[in-house]
């Protein structure tokens, strides 16, 4: 009789034989004492091995016992570190971008009324909203945030929850809902009729918006054309293709328009982003003008300063304060008068007509196009920005390690990422503006825009991590991934410093943005797990059993 070999016997004991072979062995062992003894010995050998390995012959070392506690504490430090790094990043961005701009504005004589201050901190954009937050509303907001955190707490890390609460609080403070006292008017031609008086803020949205009456509050106007011919005691915030102010606005005007014509009176300041700004002869502004406009004509009276970034500026009227501008051409007509300093940076010297009344000689700085500034300061800030990006990436990857891996994985599909990136880059931007213009979706529009901005910055992190993986090998672990991201970001920043590197940067942004979009899309897809059990070998017979009989041993 041929005995099964030891390998077969072991596989039989381990239940690894296919059914047919197991039946053969089982039948054989019914008749063969030697093989039964061998199977029993192999089984006992298995049990001896298991028992010997499981025996606790030595106590757990003290340093292992204390290690758990150290790790537990370190988990709290990780988040402190992450928030610290986030703060450092913000500081770096502030010192890199905002502070230099503030300094320049300060030097230009716009101290205290700089652009950022005008737009955000001192502006009336939030005025009338903050004051409307009642205690009940604040408590309701806090309760809502708390509920969301409670619901999501199982899915969020503690630090993430903290970040969520902070973000929620910021959102609640920054964009409190308008009070019920605010009036809304929508339609094709929303109007405040002549003789009508509104004693609150008013939102007007439609194709042709007109304010012919009196508004004792702020006006928020969104439309193809906006015409303010009445009297607004507060501020005017408007988004329009064509805007015209022929009436009286006691407060400020903030506008995002294609063209704006002012023939009326603005009590305070004008901040305008547009293609063409015309301040007609009858137009008056008590305060300053800050504008980013391609073409500006100042024929009226400006009480204080003008800050202008654009292409062409033509001054024929009077400016009480200083004029600071950067563009291509500046023309000062003989009828013009400027009470403060004039500083112009452009391609050609300003054309100042004889007879123009200038308190100070014009200071001109010829703008020379430099392919790239390789100065010491530039490199310093590049390094600071590089560090800021790395820190930003570190925080993002630490907060969302799994999502970061998925995003980097998505970026490997370059074609799809770039294609979707182009769509998202332009689509979301345009979409958020459209949503904002529909008044009701203002908060959603602004929020979407901020998310879009964050994603644009994060895009470079994603591509950086992928490039790092290409250079240093693939990884799924957190810190090695962060290390690769660091290397990749350094490479990207270095490449974008060379002439025409901006296009590379733009491509990287599109690529990364697409990868983020793909990862988000996949997140929202239902899990596509296989419903069918994996096919494996036929289940072997249990060891130590015989076919048609009792136990073999």
């Amino acid at each position: 009789m041929k005995h099964p070999d030891e390998m077969t016997c072991l596989l039989y004991v381990e239940r690894q034989l296919d059914r047919a072979r197991a039946l053969e062995v089982s039948a054989h062992t019914q008749e063969c004492e030697v093989c039964r003894t061998l199977l029993r010995a192999l089984e006992r050998e298995s049990r001896l091995l298991t028992r010997a390995m499981l025996e606790e012959e030595e106590p757990l070392p003290a340093r292992i016992e204390s290690f758990g506690e150290r790790v537990r504490r370190s988990m709290q430090w990780v988040w402190m570190l992450a928030f610290g790094l986030a703060a450092t990043t913000l500081y770096a961005l502030y010192t890199g971008y905002i502070q230099p701009l503030q300094d320049r504005l300060e030097q230009a004589g716009f101290g205290g009324t700089n652009l950022l201050g005008l737009l955000v901190f001192q502006g009336s954009f939030w005025k009338g909203w903050q004051s409307m937050i009642s205690l009940v509303e604040a408590l309701a907001m806090l309760t809502l945030i708390g509920s969301v955190v409670l619901v999501l707490r199982r899915r969020l890390r503690r630090g993430s929850a903290m970040a969520l609460v902070l973000a929620g609080l910021c959102a609640a403070l920054a964009a409190a809902p308008p009070s019920g006292a605010t009036e809304f008017r929508k339609g094709q031609t929303p109007t405040v009729a002549k003789g009508e008086t509104i004693h609150s803020d008013i939102f007007l949205s439609g194709e042709r918006v007109s304010v012919d009456g009196t508004v004792d509050g702020d006006v928020y106007a969104f439309g193809q054309s906006v015409d303010v011919s009445g009297h607004v005691l507060g501020d005017v915030i408007m988004f329009a293709q064509t805007a015209r102010v022929s009436g009286q606005v006691d407060g400020n005007i903030r506008g995002f328009d294609n063209n704006l014509t002012v023939t009326g009176t603005i009590g305070k300041n004008l901040t305008e982003f547009c293609q063409t700004l015309t301040f007609d002869k009858g137009g008056k502004a008590g305060g300053s003008i800050t504008t980013f406009a391609q073409s500006v004509t100042i024929d009226g009276q400006i009480g204080r300063d003008i800050l202008w970034y654009g292409q062409d500026l033509n001054v024929t009227g009077s400016v009480g304060g200083a004029l600071q501008g950067k563009g291509e051409t500046l023309e000062i007509a003989s009828t013009a008068s400027i009470g403060g300093q004039v500083h112009f940076e452009g391609k050609s010297a300003p054309a100042v007509a004889q007879g123009a009344k200038l308190a100070f000689p014009v200071q001109f700085t010829k703008h020379v196009e430099k392919p790239h500034e390789w100065g010491r300061s530039s490199i310093f800030w590049q390094v600071v920005l590089m560090a800021a990006f790395v820190l930003y990436g570190l925080v993002l990857i630490s907060l969302m390690p799994q999502f970061a891996r998925e995003t980097v994985h998505s970026a490997e599909n370059i074609g799809a990422s770039l294609g979707l990136g182009i769509l998202v880059f332009f689509g979301v931007l345009i979409g958020s503006i459209i949503v904002a213009v529909t008044v009701v979706g203002l908060f959603i529009g602004v929020s979407t825009f901020f998310v879009w901005m964050i994603s644009v910055y994060a895009a470079q992190i994603v591509v950086g991590a992928l490039i790092g993986q290409w250079l240093m090998g693939r990884t799924n672990e957190l810190w090695p991934l962060i290390g690769r991201m660091t290397v990749g970001v350094i490479v990207i920043r270095a490449v974008t410093m060379v002439p025409h590197g901006g296009w590379v940067k733009f491509g990287v942004i599109l690529w990364g943005l697409g990868a983020i979009s793909i990862a988000i899309y996949r997140r929202f897809q239902p899990s596509a797990r296989m419903a069918v059990a994996p096919v494996g070998p036929a289940t072997p017979l249990p060891a130590m059993t015989t076919v048609g009989g009792g136990p073999a041993l």
Binding site: H3, D5, E6, M7, C9, L10, L11, E14, Q16, V34, C35, T37, L38, R40, A41, L42, R44, E45, S46, L48, L49, T50, R51, A52, M53, L54, E55, E56, E57, E58, L60, P61, R63, I64, E65, F67, G68, E69, V71, R72, R73, M75, Q76, R153, R154, R155, L156, R157, R158, G159, S160, P401, Q402, N476, E477, L478, W479
Partner: protein, 194 residues
């Protein structure tokens, strides 16, 4: 060690996954002993095992978000530990195993069953552990994965980077090495009846 899959353990794992430091501490207390013993069996020295245990838990903390809660936690934990220990051994380039995937070297005949039974009956757990220390790296790792961690042949193949069909060969050779170490001779491994 708590049985995997119990509601309490699942709750702790879920909390640890969500970043709860207390739950993490509890998880560590529950499983640190088991992982230390695993590393102790798989690695050459006690110091190696201590270091590896801590490194394994650092990895576990990082990878916990990837853990699929529908599968037994201990199996996943041992897989992380096995991969770590095997990587460690590989990096040290101390894989001096004689094993190849050549089946020709295998003895196909029976060992003497009575002699094998006698050898097993006389041995204590301590003697077996000492004998394990004398085994080649892969042989020892294979036995630990199979008889300590209760891994399937597929999981062992994955951890050791060998074909599944070769796992039985590795295990049988490991047993032969163990018997030799226990006996001090190769009689059992080579001798046999037919």
């Amino acid at each position: 060690m708590n049985a995997p899959g119990t509601t309490e353990t699942e709750e702790i794992i879920a909390r640890a996954k969500a970043g709860d430091a207390e739950a993490w501490g509890e998880l560590y207390r529950q499983y640190a002993g088991a992982i230390f013993r695993f590393c102790r069996r798989a690695l050459p020295t006690r110091e190696d095992a201590e270091d590896a245990t801590m490194e394994v838990f650092v990895k576990v903390r990082e990878k916990l978000v990837q853990y699929d809660a529908t599968r037994p936690f201990t199996a996943w934990l041992y897989k992380v530990a096995a991969n770590h220990c095997w990587d460690l051994l590989r990096r040290r380039k101390i894989r001096q195993d004689k094993e190849t995937e050549d089946l020709d070297n295998l003895p196909l005949e029976h060992p003497d069953p009575d002699q094998l039974e006698q050898l097993i009956e006389q041995r204590t757990g301590e003697e077996v552990r000492k004998a394990l220390d004398k085994l080649g790296t892969r042989a020892r790792m294979a036995l630990v994965l199979r008889y300590y961690s209760d891994m399937s042949y597929d999981e062992i193949a994955d951890a050791l980077g060998v074909r599944r069909a070769f796992v039985g060969v590795v295990l049988l050779r490991a047993r032969h090495e163990l018997r030799q170490a226990l006996e001090g001779t190769s009689a059992l491994a080579a001798g046999g009846t037919s």
